[in-house]
């Protein structure tokens, strides 16, 4: 989505304004938001490589076939652009296409060449993952996040 003001840069700030009972939505880029005096946390992203990653991160665009949100933790690519962080290990699979390109820019490579790793015996791991999913399901139901609960239920079935 482009910024409502400059119509050039990506909108990253989404404002809901209520003026005399009229609700308006305003979508602004970082620069225009700053010019309007709206404080954003985007301006100071907490990532280690400073402006370099920020620039690259802003270019992280959905690749063909990548979903909008990670099914496990609900992080979106937009969240990632804003914070510079992914939400969980599954995000790497969900946004694989976009990340492969980003990793190539950041590291000059997209393939791990370091140590191999095999997790401890699968039974223990699967149980842990299932436990964690079941707990998230309970939390999702408790907080009435039914869409997420349904996704979690499907994941649990798949693992069982």
């Amino acid at each position: 989505m482009l910024c409502d003001q400059c119509k050039e840069r990506d909108a990253v700030v989404h404002l809901t304004q209520i003026v005399e009972a009229e609700v308006t939505q305003l979508h602004l880029c970082e620069k225009c938001a700053a010019a309007k005096g709206i404080e954003t946390t985007v301006a100071m992203p907490k990532h280690p490589l400073g402006d370099f990653l920020h620039a690259v991160q802003q270019q992280a665009s959905p690749a063909l076939g990548d979903p909008v949100r990670c099914a496990y933790c609900q992080t979106s690519l937009r969240d990632f652009r804003e914070t510079g962080r992914l939400g969980c290990a599954q995000c790497y699979t969900a946004f694989e296409g976009a990340l492969r390109e980003l990793l190539r820019r950041v590291h000059g490579a997209a393939k791990h060449r370091g140590r191999d790793y095999a997790p401890p015996p699968a039974a223990a791991t699967a149980t842990n993952a299932l436990d964690a999913l079941r707990q998230r399901l309970q939390q999702a139901v408790a907080s009435e996040e039914f869409e997420m609960a349904a996704q979690l239920r499907d994941q649990i079935r798949a693992l069982e």
């Binding site: 490589l49 962080r85 969980c88 790497y92 699979t93 990793l103 950041v106 791990h112 370091g114």
Partner: protein, 359 residues
Amino acid sequence: MTLDLSLLPDGGMPWITASGPHADIVLSSRVRLARNVAGFAFSPRARDSERLRVLAEVREAAAHASMLSSAVLLRVDAMTANERRLLHERHLVSRELAELDAGSARAGSAVFVGDEAALMVNEEDHLRLQVFRSGFDISGAWERAAKLERELGHLLPMAYHPEFGFLTSCPTNVGTGLRASVLVHLPGLVLTQEVGKVLTGLQQMGLTYRGLYGEGSEVVGNFFQISNQTTLGRTEDELCDHLSRVVSHVIARETEARRILSRDAGYIIEDKLWRAYGTLRYARSLGADEAMNLLSGVRLGVGMFLIGGLSVYTLNKLLVFSQLAHLSLSEGRPLTEIEANLARARYVRGVLATESGDG
């Protein structure tokens, strides 16, 4: 809770002894590995209950890991702001885990401090394993870190992707999750105005630099932290070897700069460094940055054999213990800036008086 530092082996600072190679120029070598436990959202995204479960699992695993079995577990989430700052001043917890500007650290934040290694829990990644060594010893740090990482990896399932390697919250750490760094003191290069060239060179070699306290910290007292910038696409050995090779070169340049200084500006330098010593020895009020810069001068004096009778160990100690949280702890209360400046001068005076034998 009150932080009992006497419980910490070496105070969590095995590097402070200055027993390693080139310890006058390289304060410490560090290897850090970032890991996440499979089955949980990464710490910043996780709920409090998830982070606490991660901590419980890590605690169980740590009890069975030989390098951590006698480690002290410090619950950062139960600490006062000053205690968190104190651990940060000792490089044991990052700015992020310490939440320096917040009222409290987030639930599940903790650090295990062992003889050889420290393990931060629920930082940006579930696990940040760190091994510090005195002086210039990246390979020693890597060897120990690798051993501990293997042990933990057998005890806990880590998030791993066959193509991307070890998965981390921020993609700048993915792959090996390895950041190798050295904390170097480069006053010679700063005084001869060569440092800019050297730092630019580092970046061209795929390395990066920061201030004394890593990410987001300013360069003060001519201390620089040099580390690898990328973590993916090369093996851990390659990353460590590359850093070691470049840092050897930086040490050689610094040594050369010191030689030129003493050849071309001998008495000017000697006078400058003794003045720094004199200020530290007699001042009644010392600002934090001021103390750091004066200590840099004295450190150079000791390294160039112009100032005798002072060990690098003492200088390391002064560097850490003259900081705000350490002074507040020894005074037994939070200090204002003015009070801290007075306490700092008093502390430094006391140490230097004892060392010079007229305390």
